[in-house]
């Protein structure tokens, strides 16, 4: 095990910039999740760490030592691929032992490690099979086993759960977390699924368009998004974002949006008046009891998703989503008053987060 550090990684293909100035540090034994939409450069970054692609700028360090001059095989990093990339012509045993055999590990040691790893993952009975004879979930385990058996300095995983069906994915997610707790290991895990990122990561790195937008604990990223991209990308249903102006009135600060106005009572230190963007998470908006509350919105649609109801409403000339626990009796076409607590409102200027003092 070792720490994994990326310093100012940049990569371009022709004129297209894929990555610019990516700095990430994964502590020894830490589970770090790299979260971002498809095409944001996260897979390219993993290929660079593994040594499969060379970066144009920056450096990859394992335990503080640069590994840029080393081939993939010399780097001692294990990778798990999205499509598993098992060797189709080899049995599970051969797949697991291939990396050890290539590294000239002595035979008895290979046997011991393959046995241990396959027991750990519950794939002992599959060792004689070929990958084609395995289910998707079993193939996924073999792919993990192939990485684990090598006991590398760091693991990098490229959306390893995205080819599983939803139920299995949830199971494996939990299993992966407990596996990491038992076995340990420095992990950089790439996903575009924010639920995976929030549940698995000790730390989450959010990327967009080849740049790191925020690094922090899952709670940081969710509760204090660094910019509007992170705010909108993390969380489902997504955060409501409104363009408008912040003004100071006698009754305290207010937000003037497109056809509505919000009381931001309680904000004290939020900078100057003027152009701004505010965000409010669907679960932070409440529907006020009749006769009370703030701005009035028109209900467009109420969709029952089981534990919650998502109410789509029109506030002024903007759309907003409200998440209500359980059931509700609001009907499309009706009007509701909303309670939007000022301390729950996020403020962004020029796309970046500004503290509100609330």
């Amino acid at each position: 095990m070792a720490s994994l550090t990326l310093q100012g990684i940049g990569k371009r293909y022709g004129k297209t910039r894929i990555l610019s100035g990516v700095d990430i540090h994964v502590e020894d034994g830490e589970f770090c999740v790299l979260l971002g939409p498809s095409g944001c450069g996260k897979s390219t970054l993993l290929h660079i760490i593994a040594g499969l692609i060379l970066q144009d700028e920056g450096s990859v360090l394992l335990d503080g030592r640069p590994v840029d001059g080393l081939t993939p095989g010399e780097r001692d990093v294990a990778m798990v691929f999205q499509n598993y990339a098992l060797y189709p012509h080899m049995t599970v045993w051969e797949n697991l032992s291939f990396g050890l055999r290539m590294r000239k590990v002595p035979g008895p040691e290979i046997k011991k490690r393959v046995r241990e790893t396959s027991r750990l993952l519950g794939i002992e009975s599959l060792l004689d099979r070929k990958p084609k004879q395995l289910s998707g979930g079993q193939q996924q385990r073999v792919a993990m086993g192939r990485a684990l058996v090598r006991r590398p300095k760091a693991f990098i995983l490229d959306e390893p759960l995205s080819n599983l069906d939803a139920r299995l994915r949830a199971d494996v997610r939990v299993e992966l977390k407990s596996l990491h707790r038992r076995v340990g290991g420095t992990v950089l895990y790439v996903t575009h699924d924010q639920v995976e990122a929030m549940t698995l990561g000790d730390r989450v790195v959010v990327m967009n368009r080849g740049e790191v937008r925020q690094t922090g604990s899952p709670d940081d990223v969710y509760s204090r998004p660094a910019d509007t991209f992170v705010a909108a990308f993390v969380g489902s249903p997504r955060m409501n974002l409104f363009q408008g102006r912040i003004v100071r009135t006698e009754g305290g600060p207010r937000f003037e949006g497109d056809g509505f106005s919000l009381d931001l009572h309680g904000w004290d230190d939020f900078g100057p008046e003027g152009e701004a963007e505010i965000g409010i998470r669907p679960e932070d908006v409440k529907i006020a009891p009749p006769g009370r509350g703030g701005p009035v919105a028109e209900v467009l649609l109420a969709s029952d998703v089981g534990p919650d109801t998502h109410v789509h409403a029109r506030l002024g000339r903007e759309d907003l989503v409200v998440r209500i626990p359980g059931r509700t009796d609001v009907k499309p076409g009706g009007k509701v008053a909303l309670e939007i607590p000022a301390e729950r409102v996020h403020l962004f200027r020029g796309g970046l987060r500004v503290p509100t003092g609330a």
């Binding site: 290929h47 593994a50 040594g51 499969l52 081939t71 993939p72 095989g73 990093v77 294990a78 990778m79 691929f81 999205q82 499509n83 990339a85 098992l86 060797y87 189709p88 012509h89 291939f98 990396g99 290539m102 590294r103 192939r146 090598r150």
Partner: protein, 282 residues
Amino acid sequence: MSREIFETQIIRVFRVGGLVVFFAAAAFPFYWMIVSSFKPLEELLLHPENLGLDLRSLDFTSYRQVLLKHGFFRYIANSLYVSLMTVAVSVSLGTLGGYAVTRLRFPGKGIFSAGVLLVYMLPAIVLVVPLYVIFTHLGLRDSLHVLVLVYVAQTLPVSVYMLKNHFQALPPEIEYAGMVDGCSRAGVIWRVVIPLSAPALASVALYTFMIAWNEFLFAFMFLDTPDKFTLSRGIVQLAGSVHLSKQLVMAASVVVTVPVLILFLFFERQLVRGLTAGALKG
């Protein structure tokens, strides 16, 4: 009878009729060749209209003469040598070339990749005279190795093209996995790419073998010493001799055709699969 049944019947009749006609057209010369090779010359001259073959009085004299007296054992060995060498060189170079065009980046890759089949567009007859002159001046003409060289040049474009199509259908992640597991690029080709390409390699090998085994024009032009004749060149020698013995030529033709035919029947499914590989993923 409903219209649908009527139409189905008509189609069936045409299908069977068509197959019979085509089969007869293709198989008759072959049948004629085999029958003639088992008859003595007098029989052929006296009863040319007799298409039947009396299985009780098969005459193997022609085969004995062809193989022993006219040196066809030697020609078989020569043909085998030339064909197998061609297969070995063409398949190995085709593998490396096809892989390079698929996975590696180098200047001129696009032109190389698109132009590789252009070589194939030149008809052999255009090439044979200049090559004859060149090889004569170099003093290389009367040699089996020159034939191998020419056959490799002829088959390599198609080998590269077919293998490129196959390699493009392999997911690159499997190779990445191999590299992360500690293989060099060459190790990945040897341990991962080649084992996964066995069907494609087999069909390329078969194709190359058939081209080299059947080739006539270059063998005819380049080979002078009877010791070095390949089978097709040997047949011409036989057919061009003063006393044209039809039954001998037929026996020799059987000797040339049958191995390829057996090979093809044996690998036919493999060959078709290899040719269409890469057309569909999955």
